[in-house]
């Protein structure tokens, strides 16, 4: 029986390279999927290992088991890792590095069989890092098992702490062993809605359409997005009138719908919610159920504190229900108070620090301006970094402050709490925005 191999997504590293590659929202309509990698990285030990993370971080202990066999031209070694407690599967040396002959790239294939099944998933990885030097060749075969019965919806690929070099390519293919007997039936395009930098494209598949996935294309052409079902979330060019078509795809070809009505996305800065208090409030400001469809978050805070316990008032930020617990946060700050400057840090803290607000003894009506940027808040492979600029002036006292903190967690941020020393002064408000 013939095998149908459908390219789903490809990316080539541009100037400066890329730190990692992730395929998310993998269509669930195929039997198997394959990732082909032609890459080079920046370490200096000839061949660099490849690391794979399946279905994001937070996997339970013992998620991966892997056996490797590596030949260098002079030696052969084999190793095994079982019950590995980290999130990453170590798949052996197969990426040429900076000491390899110029222009040498890997040839790596990752194959995952039956990836939508409710059984454990076998993973095959084979690759070479051949660089035409005596000590530089490595040929590695790895067999691994992903010890989880959940369907695989994402795969993340890295080379340790090193960047994949320019011209490295990563391509995801879906493989179907169920050979279609006819072109897929044409789907019907539905409504398209603005999602601030994305468009949500609804469509209706035809009955028994023999499709294995659906491809959404744009006019003007900017991208092709493959999805297993409606609706599709498609990146857009902000401010450009765009139409969308959906095509059903199988091994024999594709059948495209008519074009949607055109839509022009307004911009990529979206107000998500506001918390406000008209009177003094001894409680937190909270944002919950934060949508995950944006690139970054910004909080614009207009506030003062009712703290009476000292000559300052710090605001504390926590993510996903954490606050004043654990040791996941690390803080740094620098400020000027009009007469002097100071700086400091706090590591292994239970909260992020948002710098000083006017406190109760500061004359009424004086408020601080605080702009908080949270980058890449929804990713699951980076710790989160927060940047704050803030200041206030009360005609004789005041602060101008830069601050940052990190949250050492790979979990996407879905909730934020803000807690000032003493509580919020009347008329304080915090507004949350999604960007990109």
């Amino acid at each position: 029986m013939s095998v149908f191999m459908q390219p789903i997504y490809t990316q080539t590293a541009g100037s400066g390279g890329i730190g990692s590659m992730a395929f998310n929202n993998i269509p669930q309509g195929y039997n198997d999927f394959v990732v082909e990698i032609s890459a080079r990285t920046g370490n200096s030990t000839i061949a660099q290992p490849i690391f794979i993370q399946i279905n994001g971080s937070g996997q339970p202990a013992g998620t991966h088991a892997v056996t490797t066999m590596t030949g260098t031209g002079a030696t052969v070694t084999s190793g095994r890792s079982f019950g590995y407690t980290g999130d990453f599967l170590y798949a052996g040396n197969m990426i040429p590095d900076s000491s390899a002959t110029a222009n040498s790239f890997s040839n790596v294939r990752i194959t995952v069989r039956n990836y939508t099944a409710s059984t454990y998933k076998p993973v095959e990885i084979e690759g070479i890092a051949e660089s035409n030097v005596a000590s530089g060749m490595a040929i590695t075969d790895s067999g691994a098992v992903y010890l989880n019965s959940k369907p695989i919806t994402s795969i993340y690929i890295a080379a340790g702490n090193f960047t994949f070099a320019q011209y490295s390519t990563f391509t995801l293919y879906g493989i179907s062993q169920q050979y279609a007997t006819a072109l897929p039936s044409t789907p019907s395009i539905g409504a398209v809605t603005d999602q601030a930098g994305f468009a949500s494209v609804a469509f209706t598949p035809a009955s028994n359409d023999q499709a294995v996935s659906y491809a959404i294309t744009t006019n003007p052409s900017s991208s092709t997005t493959y999805v297993p079902a409606s609706p599709a979330l498609v990146p857009t060019t902000v401010g450009t009138s765009t139409t969308y078509q959906v095509a059903a795809v199988n091994n024999l070809g594709s059948s495209s719908s008519t074009a949607s009505s055109s839509i022009t996305t307004a911009n990529n800065y979206t107000s998500l919610g506001t918390v406000y208090t008209a009177s003094n409030l001894s409680d937190q400001f909270r944002f919950t159920n934060i949508p995950q469809g944006y690139q970054h978050l910004q909080i614009r805070l207009f506030s003062r504190s009712i703290n009476t316990g000292g000559t300052y008032a710090t605001c504390y930020m926590g993510f996903n229900g954490e606050i004043f617990s654990g040791s996941n946060y690390a803080n740094h700050y620098v400020y000027g108070d009009g007469a002097s400057t100071s700086y400091g840090n706090a590591t292994a803290a239970g909260q992020g620090n948002i710098p000083n607000l006017p406190w109760n003894a500061v004359t009424a009506n004086y408020f601080a301006v605080t702009i908080i940027d949270i980058l890449d808040y929804s990713n699951y492979f980076k710790a989160k970094t927060v940047k704050t600029i803030s200041g206030w002036d009360a005609n004789g006292t005041g602060r101008a402050q830069f601050a940052s903190f990190s949250w050492n967690s790979l979990a996407p941020i879905s909730a934020i709490s803000l807690t000032p020393d003493g509580g919020w002064g009347a008329y304080s408000h915090a507004a949350l925005y999604g960007i990109g």
């Binding site: 603005d194 601030a196 996305t265 307004a266 911009n267 990529n268 800065y269 979206t270 107000s271 998500l272 919610g273 506001t274 944002f287 159920n289 934060i290 949508p291 614009r300 805070l301 207009f302 620098v334 400020y335 000027g336 108070d337 009009g338 007469a339 002097s340 400057t341 009506n365 004086y366 408020f367 601080a368 301006v369 702009i371 600029i389 803030s390 200041g391 206030w392 002036d393 009360a394 005609n395 004789g396 006292t397 005041g398 602060r399 101008a400 402050q401 830069f402 008329y427 408000h429 507004a431 949350l432 925005y433 999604g434």
Partner: protein
């Protein structure tokens, strides 16, 4: 949470080279915040002239700043209507050609008539060997809503061609 797109351009000015001050007046009172974004170079014969951003015709302010220039950092303040009150430094005409400064000023809750109005300016002027970064916090010391903002620089020098100032409105859900 209900989502709505925002960050709406209200007005933009582009310098002609013969004007020393630009004012945004009759600012709509319908937004939650306004943000002023500047990309600018002065005809002043200095490397880093001062930048001045004044709401409501430039009276009643006090301020506190933090400044760093690569070798030192410092903080200072003024009380009500004392001191010159530069909100930062920009690029002057004796700096390397084609180099411009950038700044952003955030006016939060600018249209309310209950509280004083804090505003925060971050400016960056980098010329490759000179320059600095300012963070400048100021207050109007008045409960009046902000309905105009004026921008000028040292010695009322002209803004050079290529300078742009844009005022945006942001609406919170």
């Amino acid at each position: 949470m209900a989502a709505q797109t925002t960050y709406t351009p209200i007005a933009t000015v582009t310098a002609t080279g013969s004007t020393n001050a630009y004012q945004f007046s009759s600012i709509p009172q319908t937004y939650t915040d306004i943000v002023l974004i500047g990309y600018c170079r002065s005809a002043q014969s200095a490397v880093n002239p001062g930048l001045y951003v004044r709401p409501n015709s430039g009276t009643g302010w006090s301020w506190t700043y933090l400044f760093g220039n690569g070798s030192t950092f410092a903080s200072g303040r003024s009380t009500l209507n004392t001191g010159d009150g530069a909100a930062g430094i920009i690029i002057g005409n004796s700096a390397t050609a084609n180099v411009y400064a950038s700044f952003e000023t955030h006016f939060l809750n600018y249209s309310n008539t209950t509280t004083y109005k804090p505003y925060l300016t971050m400016s960056c002027a980098e010329t490759g060997g000179a320059g600095g970064t300012y963070l400048w916090a100021a207050t109007t010391n008045s409960t009046a809503a902000i309905n105009n903002v004026i921008i000028y620089n040292d010695s009322n020098s002209n803004w050079m061609v290529g300078t742009t100032f844009t005022l945006y409105g942001i609406t919170a859900a």
